[in-house]
Amino acid sequence: MLAKRIIPCLDIKDGRTVKGVNFVDLRDAGDPVEQAQIYSEQGADELVFLDISATHEKRKTLADLVRRVAAQVNIPFTVGGGISTVSDVALLLEHGADKVSINSAAVRNPAVIDELASHFGSQCITVTVDARQIDQAWWIHLNGGRIATDRRLQEWTLEAADRGAGEILFTSMDHDGTKGGFANTITAELARLLPIPIIASGGAGEMQHFADAFVKGQADAALAASVFHFNEISIPDLKTFLHQKNIPVRR
């Protein structure tokens, strides 16, 4: 049976791990390579690295980091942040990334999803979306949530899937950093709507929240950062907890 995935996310700035609370007030949480290794040994199913400082001059630093992570860990990992072209993706895959995630570039130019999927296969193209609920509707936001768009979450993720995205990483800006649980109602709606896997992100605070994301939210994977980085939840304990709730996990 396909296991539900637990994915620690490492936000990277200048080669270091950081995690913002509601995307501001960044806190330094350590060395990404060392953390990746620890998470892998603890039973994380995948890792996501989001380079929030990504600019073209920093691209080489990111690629070096990707190579060091790939040399160490034997589980899959996704790299995102500022990716917009075939050459960006090729560089990261060549350095050992398994998947890449694209966000703003895809909203600005949706055809990039088709292009990347046809070059590299849908399997390694994750489309990341940040959304916020305003007057009952969910709207896509860009640049870490700072820029609102006129794209609705459901319509955009469906288009991304049609264009060849392999999975959707959905962060609820309203839940991120609150530790009050994932956005399960809308996640379940997306899970019904989309033909591709969905990773729920934003709001993890306790182990029950993960169980809720899988059962109520019907997510295929759940992503969190600070609860793992600051040892508030240990991955082995979380896997045991989920197993006891009859949720299929890799142990």
Partner: protein, 197 residues
């Protein structure tokens, strides 16, 4: 021992190299036919698109080179699918080494495509699988699959049972990524490295 990874126009070649280096083996990445032919073992990895990749192989005559290899060959993911006869992905004629068709998964409620994540492998047969790997989780990422058949050496279930691994003669293949499958994956790669050439 000379281990060659066929370095072709698709992803995850580096991941396979790193996995072998963690096992203290230094593979050669190449698309040079002579080096491939002279290897003790050949790994044919792949994440990518079937049609584009077959065209790339044919342009370099690597399709013929691979077909004629007599040393142990390990196809991974797309590499496994390309060893088969035909893939529904881009309506592609593949290498035809293993007489099987590669079909696209049909998504249904609660079961998405691609099949992405960790799944248990069972009914293990053949030299790649030590007994402790039975029922262990390995990592899959794919939208196309091979039905269980006479060459199936491992099975997994998603939407329906399908081939997690195949073997015909010296051609071994896994649909999952042993290079990304934690400790069970490392064990499987070690078994491949131990095969007699």
């Amino acid at each position: 021992m000379k281990i060659v990874i066929i370095d072709y126009n698709a992803g995850n070649v580096q991941s396979v190299r790193f996995a072998l280096e963690r096992l203290h083996v230094s593979p050669i990445l190449t698309n040079d036919p002579e080096i491939i032919q002279s290897a003790d073992k050949v790994i044919f990895p792949g994440v990518g698109e079937a049609g584009r990749t077959m065209a790339w192989l044919r342009e370099r005559d690597l399709d013929k080179v691979i077909r004629n290899l007599t040393q142990p060959v390990l196809g991974i993911c797309l590499g496994m699918q390309l060893l088969c006869a035909y893939s529904e992905e881009a309506d592609t004629t593949c290498l035809g080494i293993i007489p099987q068709k590669v079909r696209r998964f049909q998504a249904r409620a609660g079961e998405k495509v691609p099949h992405m994540g960790w799944n248990q492998i069972y009914n293990l047969k053949g030299a790649l699988f030590p007994s402790e790997v039975e029922q262990k989780y390995t990592y899959f990422v794919h939208s196309y699959y091979v039905e269980p058949g006479p060459f199936t050496t491992a099975t997994t279930d998603y939407i329906h049972p399908f081939s997690a691994a195949l073997q015909k003669d010296n051609f071994y293949a896994t649909q999952f990524h042993p290079e990304k499958s934690g400790d069970p994956g490392s064990l499987i790669l070690q078994e491949f490295l131990k095969l007699r050439t």
